[in-house]
């Protein structure tokens, strides 16, 4: 591909080399909602290689034709681009189905045979990316199947990759065990761990914002920054995923992965290049510098009945699939310290929850006040510290709060916002995170995939909490659905003479 002189990079995108993508759980929710629609959109954008095929694997006994019909229906519902006959006909030829249970040897024998046939017909050159879109309990079974059948084995000029979805274990030992399982068949360089937050344009833009501009990095440290607040709030409840949530909770569902990954982008040192390993090294170092979270620095909450988005909302314990006496947290507020030269004594406050007033993901960097204010108290009474907000979703953008003189004959200062919105500057609809990540994995670019060291570090950070909650018990603070969380979370910041932003 690199030798093709017709591929100029000005208008044409970089297309991966030939490969087949095998999706275990090919009829599952993620495959139908995200993965196949993402591949369809890549096809429309001509970003799939000429030698490409997709094979779904699952228990159902179905023909290729039946599988294609079902995927068309899912794409019609979930694709960001409408499905049309002309385009779908070309795309559906690329879709295939292999039925079988994941623990049966013959499933892998059949898969190997189909991949061989499809590879010849479609020119996939023997390259295969296995996407494990299945519950974590199935990972070891599938990895063993791929390992034992020889399907995971790479040969010169032929890659084999495994893409796995979070959660990567449920604590440090289980994560390490899972990692060991995966490594029985795949080397680390073959493994791509998906955290879809890292596929979001605005998360990736944190690096550009920090390291492509001269004005921010000089003040991006403890000398100028008072503290950082990272908020991931949702207005929805568990939405029928009560059973899953009972096992995960906010700590495992959001904090351990999404939030700590976002934190690593904010806290990392400049990488020497934008190379995948250089970026992942720096993110890993940032996480390695984080102190473990102590129960005294964390508030956990659970929503009770209230109103959300104008409608009555039931409490968590009344949700389907949730135990009536459940102590699982739907909210976490935490104070996290990073022990390194850049961030010593600068707290990072993390807050995530369900049934909060609105859906927001943002990073707010609050700067220190000026050392001396040469204005009267009355003039500066309404002045608040400068805050730089990186909005990740919705209304992706960046805003800066600063003081300005209120127009009048006297000096009075008020805080105003300078706002940059992505969609007013770059109006093209951004690609879905899964399109970006699938393409990156096909290209073998691991920049936006957490490495196992980062996963281990994030489990290390949250481990004391899990232990303490298990050992000491004690339930979460209740907060009303539609509120910004329990009062104890406000007290957590009040202890430091700070307060939460209202996003």
């Amino acid at each position: 591909m690199d030798t093709n002189p017709l591929r100029d990079t000005f208008r044409m995108h970089r297309v991966p080399g030939p490969c087949a993508v095998v999706i275990f759980g090919g009829l599952g929710d993620l495959a139908g909602r995200k993965l196949v629609p993402a591949l369809y959109n890549l096809y429309l954008r001509r970003l799939l290689p000429a030698g490409f095929a997709m094979v779904g694997v699952g228990r159902r006994d179905a023909t290729d034709t039946e599988y294609r019909a079902e995927m068309r229906e899912r794409c019609a519902r979930f694709s960001r681009t409408p499905v049309t006959d002309a385009e779908w006909e070309g795309f559906e030829e690329l879709l295939h189905w292999v039925g079988g249970t994941f623990d049966a040897t013959e499933t892998y024998t059949t898969l190997a045979r189909r991949l061989e046939e499809i590879g010849v017909a479609r020119g996939t050159a023997g390259n295969v990316m296995f996407y494990l879109s299945v519950p974590p309990s199935q990972f070891p079974v599938i990895v063993d199947g791929l390992g034992d059948s020889g399907l995971a084995r790479e040969e010169p000029g032929r890659f084999r990759r495994a893409v796995i979805e979070k959660p990567f274990g449920h604590d440090l030992p289980s994560s390490a065990a899972l990692d060991a399982e995966v490594h029985r068949a795949f080397k680390e360089s073959q493994v791509f761990r998906i955290d879809h937050y890292l596929g979001k344009e605005t998360v990736q833009n944190i690096l550009v914002f920090r390291f492509a501009n001269g004005i921010f990095e000089p003040v991006w440290n403890r000398n100028f920054i008072d503290h950082v607040q990272i908020t991931v709030s949702e207005s929805i409840g568990v939405e029928g995923r009560g059973k899953f949530y009972e096992e995960a909770g906010a700590l495992r569902d959001i904090v351990q992965n999404h939030m700590l990954q976002v934190l690593s982008f904010v806290a990392m040192e400049p990488p020497s290049s934008f190379d995948a390993e250089a970026v992942r090294d720096e993110r890993g170092k940032a996480l390695a510098s984080c102190r473990p979270l102590l129960p005294s620095d964390v508030v956990r909450g659970q929503y009770s009945a209230g109103f959300s988005d104008g409608d009555a909302a039931k409490g968590y314990r009344n949700e389907d699939g949730v135990a009536p006496g459940s102590d699982v947290e739907t909210y976490i507020a935490a104070r996290l310290m990073i022990d390194n030269w850049r961030w010593a004594d600068t707290p990072f406050y993390l807050r995530t929850g369900k049934r909060l007033p609105k859906r927001v993901t943002e990073v707010a960097i609050q700067f220190k006040r000026v050392p001396h204010l040469p204005f009267s108290y009355a003039a500066a009474e309404q002045l608040e510290p400068n805050v730089l907000v990186l909005r990740i979703q919705p209304n992706e953008g960046i805003s800066l709060r600063f003081g300005a003189k209120v127009p009048s004959e006297r000096v009075q200062i008020r805080t105003v916002n300078m706002d940059f919105q992505y969609d007013t500057a770059f109006s093209a609809a951004p690609a879905e995170a899964y399109e970006t990540l699938l393409l990156d994995a096909m290209r073998g670019d691991g920049t936006n995939f957490p490495r196992q060291d980062a996963v281990n570090q994030s489990w290390r950070i949250v481990e004391p909490l899990q232990e303490s909650w298990t050992r000491l018990g004690g339930g979460p603070h209740l907060y009303e659905a539609g509120s910004w969380g329990p009062e104890a979370a406000d007290e957590l910041l009040a202890r430091d003479r700070r307060r939460w932003r209202r996003p």
Binding site: N4, R11, R46, A50, T424
Partner: protein, 316 residues
Amino acid sequence: MTTPAAIERELAELRGKTAGDHAGTRTHIVDLVAYADDPAIATELGEVVAMMRHHRPSRALIASGAPGDVTAEPAVFCSPMQEGGAIVCCEIVRLTGPPAGDALTSMIASLLLPDLPVFLLWLSPPPLDRPTFHNLAALATRLVTDSTRFPTTLDVLGSVARQEHLVVTDLAWTKITGWREVVATIFDDAEHAALLPSLEHVAIQHVAGSDAQARLLVGWLATASRATPTTSIEAVTHEDMRPGSLVRVELTCGGHRFIVDRPSEGMATIDVPGRPIRRAALRVPPFGTLVGEELEFLAPDRAFEAALERLPPGAR
């Protein structure tokens, strides 16, 4: 007699009325200046910009020649860029004024939003000897033409770029990006890439009406392959496709024939010897989308400039 200050006031009022609570939010991408002698084309351009969903210019100044004083019709169009996204406004000012002289161009210069790149959309062949064109080109970062509508444009673009020190581009080139991507896939594997320097013949069929896209594709293939292929360009009738659209590209290379065929809008077939026929998505975007896409690019497009140097002769 209108003034820039009066137009700015009217635009601010319109923004307030149109966008409601979101007054004042406008795109910060580019200024677009369009000129057409034909008022019908100017009207069409205004409608196209107003309908743009993505890549909207911040302000579009669409001018056409008419006797008398300069007149202006400001308008503001606001809508969310994405579902659930912020409402964003685009300002369009229709200007008319004397086709010769400085009145129109001075008004345009006053109305440009500061510190934004300026795209000059001049669809007809750029008249190098005309002061209006020269003055507008002096304001512009990039010139966008459309040789599908005016095929002779292709033959003057090189000299325009040199004389006006302008980055030039052509919507006919934007239209064939998809075609270039599909043709390029044939040579993604090393075996076929090795055949490219021996490109012997390029045969292209296009819908009658303009051979500009076909000539650009040949120019691109010749420069990228570093070969000197013979060429045949044939106009055909195809009622479902727009004039000038490419229908079939056949490459003879090292004794092999590679064929890309577009039997219908949205889909192409790719025939590579010894391989099953493949299909690829190939839909040429509508005019407004093409203009919008072009607003993304600021740097010179070296592949386009090189293709201009190797164009086969056009149909007479």
